[in-house]
């Protein structure tokens, strides 16, 4: 299971990095999302992977699943969700104002000729 989780985190991270380096804002936003999946999985796995263990404490149990990384990952998910929502709106705003969805768009992007800059 450890190997599978590591491979998943690795592939997600690689995919995220590759998407973040793309030219247009939509893949960049997707890349940030995929990267945050990878980070969340990684954080979660840092409490060690354990099967059939009680969440914190139980009679007769020989171990427990570490609850702290779960709390951390919950916080990270909430923050990541809010940030993704923000960056999507910002990307849309940039697309509307710059008339171009490239990350490095010039302020007077290739808008339709004759269109007036509001």
């Amino acid at each position: 299971m450890e190997a599978l989780i590591s491979v998943v985190i690795g592939v997600l991270t690689a995919l995220g990095v590759w998407l973040v380096l793309r030219e247009r804002t939509f893949p960049v936003v997707l890349g940030l999302t995929v990267l945050s999946y990878a980070v969340n999985l990684f954080l979660f796995a840092m409490g060690r992977l354990a099967l059939g263990q009680p969440p914190v404490i139980a009679n007769g149990a020989r171990g427990y699943a570490d609850p702290l990384p779960q709390a951390l990952v919950l916080t990270a998910i909430v923050i990541g969700f809010a940030m993704t929502a923000f960056v999507i709106v910002l990307a849309l705003k940039a697309r509307a104002e710059l008339r171009d969805d490239r990350v490095d768009a010039e302020a007077d992007g290739p808008g339709e000729p004759g269109e007036e800059q509001p």
């Binding site: 973040v20 980070v39 990684f42 954080l43 840092m46 923000f86 910002l90 940039a94 990350v103 509001p118």
Partner: protein, 500 residues
């Protein structure tokens, strides 16, 4: 347990939330100024309480460290809190003249930015530091975009947001690795556990530490991660840019907090983790910032590059690693913050007097009230470039004095002195272009009133205060540097007797 350490976090949180329900801008302004004044009073009260070296520990929910989250108020944290509150006060006094009208929620966002800043300075837990970073960042994203519609600002904002989100991902990976190996995120506990890292995990902890360094370097705008700063700060409205002058200092503060007590000289196999990196990178940042200031085509961009250069000067002091170097950096920190904030505000006043030319460095008409603005610009240029008699000069002298005997002394001397010269040339060129080579005025616009000049003058008074009281203040910063380099007493205060 006194509740004082959490008050600087609660005041802006509550004030910002209450403002959402206040319909009138006037009420929001009044509450905003009152909240910032309250934060200043709280920060000063904290500083007075901890000035003798006591460490106030506030356990949230009364869970003892290292199991619960703690806030730790010591001299260093209180020093940064006072600096933040002072900059915020003058930025807000400038904003209430009308810059806060451009968006509906300027005042709540301003308070929440302060919430994030105060929390980041007070927290004693690495994950909590991440949370406060995110709070200050999401407020700063919105504040950066605040203002009249401007595509250039939107693009700069997009870059700023994306690069900081990447930084947050790296932060979480580093935090996760540290927790996975050492089983704790409390900074005092980390300081104990990192020193006792088992040999087979040294590589992992080193990787996590250097990842953290990368993240803090990004926040501090250290070379080569400074590229987001000039565009972003030059596009922000003046009060926001003035408040952002403290933001790079959060990164510098975090570098100090994590890499001196935790990965510092006492860290056993991981001792002095960033030692080989910090000083060369700081000198590089100083050089690039100074060159950028020379090359800038607009006044605000020039000031933004000077902010980068001042981060370089600051971290040069920290990078020396000695108590004297850190103390010099900590003395330079409020100076560079106040100077940059004042210059951003002044640049805005100058730009408003130049009509369509704004802050572009091209010859233009005479600015209304040119004598007053010119005199302020002259004094601030002297302050920013680090010439005598002001505190910037004292900070640089202290840094250079601390560098005596360091193997990289020739580099430190050369870069710090040449960087100061470049900054001076850049500002002198802008000043002569803006004030001497000005043609006849064509718009008899009224000049900025007293209410616009007062915040700039106030920041200047603070710099004067830093200069006049340099003796006691450097004693204080030396004591902070001592606390950082010998963290045993603070670790005992946080962890109690069982931590030892």
């Amino acid at each position: 347990m006194s509740h004082l350490p959490i008050a600087p976090v609660l005041v802006p949180l509550v004030a910002g939330a209450v403002m959402l329900f206040l319909p009138r801008q006037g009420l929001r302004r009044g509450l905003g100024v009152a909240a910032v004044l309250a934060q200043l009073a709280l920060a000063l009260a904290l500083l007075a309480q901890v000035a003798d070296g006591t460490t106030l520990v506030y356990a949230l929910g009364n869970w003892p460290a290292p199991y619960g989250i703690v806030l730790v108020a010591d001299r260093l944290a209180a020093w940064l809190l006072v600096t933040t509150a002072l900059v915020a006060l003058f930025a807000l006094l400038y904003a209430v003249r009308g810059d806060d009208q451009a968006g509906p929620h300027f005042h709540p966002l301003f308070q929440w930015q302060l919430l994030g800043l105060n929390g980041a300075f007070l927290t004693g837990d690495l994950f909590n530091l991440f949370v406060f970073f995110e709070i200050l960042l999401i407020a700063s994203y919105a504040l950066l975009l605040h203002g009249r519609r401007d595509p250039g600002r939107t693009r700069a904002g997009l870059h700023f947001v994306v690069i900081n989100l990447l930084g947050s991902s790296l932060f979480l990976i580093a935090v996760g690795t540290l927790y996975g190996v050492l089983g704790t995120l409390n900074m005092a506990d980390l300081a104990v556990k990192v020193a006792a890292t088992p040999p087979e995990s040294v590589g992992l902890v080193r990787a996590a530490g250097l990842l953290l360094f990368g993240v803090f370097a990004l926040k501090a705008a250290l070379l080569p991660l400074y590229l987001w700063l000039p565009a972003g700060y030059a596009q922000a409205t003046a009060p926001v840019a003035a408040l952002f002058a403290i933001m790079t200092k959060v990164g510098a503060y975090s570098i100090l907090r994590v890499f001196v007590p935790i990965f510092g000289p006492g860290a056993g196999p991981l001792a002095d983790l960033t030692g080989p990196w910090l000083l060369p990178l700081a000198l590089g940042t100083l050089a690039v910032g100074s060159l950028g200031a020379l090359a800038a085509r607009g006044l605000r961009r020039q000031v933004a590059y000077l902010v980068v250069a001042s981060v370089g000067s600051l971290l040069t002091g920290f990078g020396l690693g000695s108590a004297a170097g850190i103390a010099a950096g900590l003395y330079y920190l409020p100076h560079s913050t106040f100077a940059a904030a004042a210059l951003f505000l002044l640049a805005d006043l100058i730009a408003k007097g130049r009509g369509g030319l704004a802050d572009r460095l091209d010859p233009g008409p005479v600015i209304p009230r040119a004598v007053t603005l010119g005199a302020l610009f002259f004094v601030l240029a002297v302050v920013m470039a680090g010439l005598p008699p002001f505190s910037g000069f004292l900070g640089k002298v202290l840094t250079l004095k601390a560098a005596l005997g360091h193997p990289l002394l020739p580099w430190v001397l050369g870069v710090v002195l040449l960087g100061g010269l470049c900054g001076l040339i850049a500002l002198a060129r802008s000043g002569s272009l803006l004030f001497y080579r000005a043609g006849p005025t064509n718009v008899p616009a009224p000049g900025p009133g007293l209410s616009a000049l007062a915040p700039v003058a106030g920041l200047l008074m603070l710099i004067l205060g830093l200069t006049l009281f340099a003796g006691p203040l450097t004693d204080l910063t030396s004591a902070m540097a001592g606390d950082l380099l010998a963290p045993a007493a603070q670790i005992r205060a946080v962890l109690g007797s069982e931590g030892q």
